[in-house]
């Protein structure tokens, strides 16, 4: 009968959860330790949690979890270089988890969702200038939080560099369209072919007069162009922002993406857009802009995993998108670094020892004495006197 898990020794790899045929174990993924993939991700996507959910076939929850930090998984699956895969613990055993493929899989489900209007929860409007990665991301999180958002875009369609940039920067236009139309169904307003000129003297006042109480400036690279009026810039000419909150020198103006950084990948831009949205939410509700945003990272210690079963990495199908069964299996490869296993359903243990044999950390103890079963030769069952 399953007896105990030594919590200190447990490395959270989930070997027990994954192999117990009676489904006795569960994993606790909440930990003050940051998994290496998350630490390396510009957006801090929590793939430990996402994979743990996928291991339980909780597809919707996995997607929701990803969406908390990554508004456009289908785009990230395509345009991100996935630095998260590099430090993956699995790398030490066979090969890193195909996080890109999993993200693309979730992304495919994500764009297929039809979204309903988000109930409006706030009076004050927010302006987002530029519908590139940063602007769309900020618009997404603000809209989701119930702010009325208007996106001003100079071009005729959304996407910024992901649509109009160099060929290697471009994403599937159909996916961009899908996300733009999702945003629209959620309630965000797009003003296309509407170049707002932030170098003009009264641009901020004009927005304010229109009812906008906060602005996200996400117009892309501004270096060598006319600087935005009234905002402090860095030596190189980008808008100067607070690294945590993206707040500019003007309290209600936030800049994200290339506008505020000399280099910016689409995922970095999306991460910045999200930060700007959170910070705007904070100030519009009267809090400090950085409330709840200062998260420290504590790396997970590396432990010996050499005894674990090697599993082949699944590469994606079309456009790197893993099909459902491969995505779920790829998630099973994840070692959920830093989690802890627990005995969730002891009533079903059959004393087969598989968990103990497979645990690489020697953390599990199964007692060889099994559950009490009806003793067929006991007086009660054999009848009469013994």
């Amino acid at each position: 009968m399953i007896s105990s898990i030594n919590e200190e020794a447990c490395i959270g790899c989930g070997a027990c959860v994954k192999t117990c045929a009676l489904d006795v174990f569960r994993l606790d993924t909440h930990s003050d330790k940051t998994a290496p993939c998350m630490a390396a991700c510009p957006a801090r996507n929590d793939f430990r949690e996402i994979n743990a959910l996928l291991q339980q076939s909780r597809l919707d929850e996995a997607l929701d979890c990803l969406k908390r930090t990554m508004p456009f998984p289908a785009l990230a699956g395509e345009v991100c270089s996935h630095p998260c895969e590099k430090p993956c613990s699995r790398h030490r055993l066979d090969s890193s988890v195909n996080i890109r493929g999993i993200e693309a899989f979730l992304g495919k489900r994500d764009v297929a969702r039809s979204l309903r209007p988000v109930p409006r929860r706030h009076v004050f409007k927010v302006a987002v200038i530029g519908a590139g990665a940063a602007g769309l991301s900020a618009a997404w999180y603000l809209t989701e939080a119930g702010y009325p958002v208007t996106i001003f875009e100079a071009e005729a369609q959304a996407g910024g560099r992901m649509r109009y940039g160099a060929p290697e920067e471009r994403a599937d236009p159909a996916v961009l369209d899908a996300y733009a139309s999702q945003l629209q169904s959620m309630g965000a307003q797009f003003r296309y072919s509407c170049p707002l000129q932030p170098w003009r003297e009264h641009w901020l006042e004009e927005l304010e007069d229109l009812g906008f109480r906060a602005v996200v400036l996400a117009v892309g690279d501004v270096r060598g162009k006319k600087p935005p009026h009234g905002l402090a810039c860095t030596a190189s000419g980008s808008v100067r922002v607070h690294p945590l909150t993206c707040q500019t020198s003007v309290r209600t103006v936030f800049a994200a993406g290339h506008a505020a950084s000399d280099t910016s990948s689409p995922v970095q831009a999306m991460a910045a857009g999200r930060k700007a949205a959170l910070a705007i939410g904070n100030i519009l509700q009267g809090a400090n802009p950085d409330m709840g945003m200062n998260v420290r990272l504590h790396a997970v210690e590396q432990k010996d995993i050499s005894s674990l079963e090697k599993l082949e990495r699944r590469e994606g199908g079309e456009k790197g998108v893993l099909p459902l069964e491969d995505a779920l299996e790829e998630a099973v490869r994840c070692l959920t670094c830093g989690s802890k296993a627990r005995i969730a359903y002891p009533d079903d243990c059959m004393t087969c020892f598989a968990c103990e044999v497979r645990c690489p950390a020697g953390a599990i103890d199964v007692d060889p004495f099994k559950e009490f079963h009806p003793r067929h030769l006991d007086r009660r069952f054999i009848g009469g006197a013994k």
Partner: protein, 573 residues
């Protein structure tokens, strides 16, 4: 209800050894085979825990001698054509295993080890090497052999019903058992390789009631041989695997007077070297006569064999070490043993190619009816390979030549909603149903020395449970929903067992009736078959087609035993 939908050519329910063998073969004919299993995707069912002992008819052995002996062992009740296929195909499958990289044991001169079974002259098994890793290695070999085949595998999906379109299967429905997400599967053909399940006894019978009874009956298939169960001897307190190897080497069951009671009283010819069913009958009579407890004595196993029988790897090694630490020495101490009903030996009645009378529905492995309660070690691994291979071939060919039938989503939704509506409901715990069922099966007059009185009493209790407890079952979460379906499956399996046992009013092979201790020589040999009729189980006696069988039964294994009538009658209250 938003369901995850799969479309496939061949759906295989159950990724145990039979399912894996079938998938491998079916994939040579169709573009896509999908295996779903309620357990982890890669666990490979019970086979992965097995010893990997395999009945194999080697080149120098005579198939007719073997068949004659099997018919004798089964007291005539043998599907001879299927058995012939099984024996004939055992060697090619054995070689397939080797080609996949699996190793079988050889003696010092390089010959395959052959361990005779149950005191029989011919039938023998070949063990896997090294001891303790047989099943683990077979599992790995099978999984490797599937690489590159057009086979998809999905774990953690519980199948709850097979869908039909007229008399033609169209797929199945189920749910992810960790999330409750609905799953619909449209398929050209469906193969049941779920095993038939059992009573979740302590012999590592990990996968309990498999739902096979419910799946098959509801789909319209016939069940056969449900009066036969695998009664197994186990140490009272812990698990020990390897009896089939220990007995031929000199292991014996002895009573509290140190007598090898089987040899002493019940079968001077065979002693303990017999089928478990017979040993258990002896055990029961001994205990009833006050000569219990029964212990397993290994002192006569020759010293040079000790290395071979001491677990060297896997869970058995761990188990042995742990027991030693707790002061228990399996080979030196007097370890008390007890019998347990482990699993049903019934199965789905099929043609030789695994097809059933429901179009597009097939069965293989332990879900297919073959043994009749007496069992020689290694038959299961062999039968899973032979029937899996053969049925896989047949279902692949079938699916390659037909269109995908219409999959009725509304029907599918209705079938699944029956289960999902229990999710989140507080109610009687599945484990309690399991416990009640185990207790209901436990009395000796229900599972070993059966009698009409005992069986009726159990049936009555079962009906109570069915009507009072079953509808009140609840499932707090998807895990328990899965366990709930399993528990219901176990109840249905038990009902099939009790009804079939009542129907067979004689004793033969693994079936012993204290009120009918003799063979029924007046009526021709028959199978007891079960089909569904207006929601109830209908039982029919179907005569064996002896005319088409090569062996006309003329000698009977059971005749080597004498269980004194007056002792047996003590079990008729």
């Amino acid at each position: 209800m938003q369901a995850i939908t799969f479309k496939t050519d061949v759906l295989i329910i159950g990724g145990g050894f039979a399912g894996l063998w079938a998938a491998r073969q079916a994939s040579t004919h169709v573009k896509d085979v999908l295996i779903v299993d309620k357990g982890p995707r890669d666990w490979a069912g019970l086979g992965g825990m097995s010893g990997g002992d395999m009945i194999t008819l080697h080149e120098d052995q005579d198939i007719h001698e073997w068949l004659d002996e099997v018919v004798f062992f089964n007291d005539g009740l043998c599907d001879q054509l299927m058995m012939l296929d099984t024996l004939r195909d055992s060697l090619p499958r054995f070689h397939d295993y080797e080609a996949m990289g699996h190793t079988f044991s050889r003696d010092s001169r390089g010959r395959y080890v052959r361990i005779p079974q149950r005191g029989l002259a011919h039938v023998s098994l070949t063990t896997s090497s090294p001891t303790g890793k047989g099943g683990i290695n077979m599992r790995a070999a099978l999984l490797r052999s599937l690489e590159g085949c057009s086979v998809r595998r999905m774990g953690n999906i519980m199948i709850t019903a097979i869908t039909r379109n007229g008399n033609r299967v169209s797929g199945a429905v189920g749910f992810f058992n960790r999330s409750g997400e609905p799953v619909f599967i449209s398929a050209k053909a469906v193969l049941i390789t779920t095993g038939t399940g059992g009573w979740k006894a302590s012999y590592l019978q990990n996968s309990m009631a498999s739902g096979c009874v419910e799946l098959a009956l509801e789909a319209g298939a016939r069940l056969r041989n449900f009066e036969f169960i695998d009664n197994w001897n186990v140490p009272k307190l812990f698990a020990w695997e390897g009896q089939t190897v220990l007995l031929p080497l000199g292991g014996r069951f002895i009573n509290n007077r140190n007598e090898e009671f089987m040899a002493e009283r019940y079968s001077p010819v065979l002693g303990s070297k017999t089928d478990t069913q017979y040993n258990i009958r002896g055990m029961v009579l001994e205990v009833k006569a006050g000569r219990g407890p029964i212990v397993f004595d290994t002192s006569r196993i020759p010293a040079e064999c000790m290395e071979e029988v001491t677990p060297a790897a896997g869970w058995m090694k761990l188990n042995n070490e742990k027991l030693k630490k707790l002061g228990v020495d399996f080979f030196k101490d007097k370890i008390e043993w007890m019998p347990q009903p482990i699993a049903s030996e019934g199965g789905i009645a099929t043609e030789l190619d695994g097809s059933t009378e429901v179009e597009g529905l097939f069965a293989a492995g332990t879900a297919q009816s073959l043994p009749t309660g007496v069992y020689f070690g290694g038959l299961s691994i062999c039968h899973c390979a032979t029937s899996g291979h053969k049925t896989g071939d047949a279902i692949g060919r079938y699916a390659a030549n037909c269109e995908t039938p219409f999959f009725d989503k509304e029907q599918a939704q209705m079938l699944l909603q029956r289960e999902l509506c229990r999710l989140g409901r507080t109610g009687i715990a599945p484990k309690d149903i399991v416990r009640v069922t185990q207790e209901l099966m436990a009395p000796v007059d229900v599972c070993i020395m059966k009698s009409a009185g005992g069986l009726q009493r159990a049936l009555q209790r079962l009906e109570e449970v069915k009507h009072e407890a079953l509808p009140r079952m609840g499932a707090e979460d998807p895990h328990y929903l899965c366990k709930m379906v399993e528990a219901r499956g176990m109840l249905m399996l038990t009902e099939a067992y009790l009804r079939a046992s009542l129907e067979r009013t004689e004793s033969r092979a693994g079936h012993f009736r204290a009120d009918y201790p003799q063979r029924d020589e007046t009526s021709p040999l028959y199978w007891v078959e079960i089909r569904r009729n207006h929601g109830e189980m209908e039982l029919v006696r179907v005569p064996l087609p002896l005319d088409s069988y090569p062996v006309k039964p003329y000698r009977y294994y059971m005749d080597q035993f004498t269980f004194p009538i007056e002792e047996v009658r003590k079990f008729l209250h």
